[in-house]
Symmetry: C2
Subunit: 204 residues, 2 copies
């Protein structure tokens, strides 16, 4: 039952965040966006044109981006640029610290834009991801331990390698968290003087 609000097909995956984030650094055309995306996330994810262009189209439609260049006439290089609405939307997305920011597919993108993210949110995302991974570690370990039957050596090797990979990421996160804490010398303290913590968004 439950009529269900029929949520407007909102094109709201990580891709949207990635595009907003890159366009915030500087205006760009689609093809360049695509390459930057795949360099930035290289080892983790890839996006294809088939999702990028529709995403850009929809960003125009909802007014998060505007298109310079020559959209009509000669067909080459349509340069996209964030609107005020787009920037606001980006800030909202970057302010979220929840599963959507620390799940496997999303974490990389959120992390890539950490320099545009509030220090507190960064910390919550890093810790959120670490918790997530530790839970998974726990779950797998107990369920492996509980398994009476012996598994074949390949399955075992896969599990071993998987656990090791996850443990490695946990250590990485722990180091990052400690670094954050150290560089975050008592921000909650008295002064609100402009410390350099925030956006390293210099020119370009």
């Amino acid at each position: 039952m439950a009529p269900q609000p029929a949520r407007r097909s909102g094109r709201s995956g990580v891709l949207e965040l990635a595009v907003l984030g890159l366009l915030h650094e500087s205006p760009m055309h689609g093809y360049e966006l695509s390459k930057r995306l795949n360099t930035m996330l290289g080892a983790f994810r890839a996006f294809s044109y088939g999702s990028l262009y529709p995403c850009l189209k929809q960003m125009l439609a909802v007014g998060h981006a505007s298109a310079d260049g020559e959209p009509t006439g000669s067909r080459s290089r349509i340069v996209y640029r964030l609107t005020a609405d787009g920037k606001e939307h980006l800030q909202n997305l970057l302010a979220e610290a929840g599963p959507s920011s620390w799940e496997d597919e999303n974490f990389g993108v959120h992390f890539a834009f950490f320099s545009q993210t509030d220090a507190e949110v960064r910390m919550r995302i890093l810790e959120g991801r670490r918790n997530r991974l530790e839970e998974r570690l726990d779950h797998v370990k107990t369920s492996v331990a509980r398994t009476r039957e012996r598994v074949d050596s390949y399955t075992l090797e896969l599990q071993r390698h998987g656990l090791e990979s996850v443990e490695r990421e946990v250590r990485w996160l722990t180091e990052l968290i400690e670094t954050e804490r150290r560089s975050d010398h008592r921000t909650t303290a008295t002064d609100k003087d402009a410390d350099s913590s925030a956006s390293g968004t210099n020119f370009r």
Copy 2:
């Protein structure tokens, strides 16, 4: 406009292989299947009931599995078991060494069933995956090197960690490949002396 015959949704992802592989080891009901799946792949992937049960349903429909237990009446524990067709289908899937076996989402599942896989195919999959990762490494490295503009430290750290992870997996694969070659003690070797008949020596 050719409405297009609406190709019956064929349910042919990794999940199918995973289920076939587990059922080949022993008959099981859905819930147990689900747990085994998530233990086996724990660190890499997870599947939800929302995909598992439809998959089982379809396997019944196409005759790859049969259901014991009490499907009618009291509702508990429907035990699935592979049919001859199902076993054949599994063998076909396991014999494939192509992108579908070494891509990120699929490799883990294929690897998990390596003990049911031919040694030659195992080798081609391991090498296929390693090549894939090395290409990616290359691509990212050159495209990073080509980047004139300096990227912020978080993006950099993400790239560094990503590269390191991939390099680590490459080393892992290399070790596995060497182990495989060793345990495969000179099947093709002694070629200099034993192989007088020149071509077509197919080992098994």
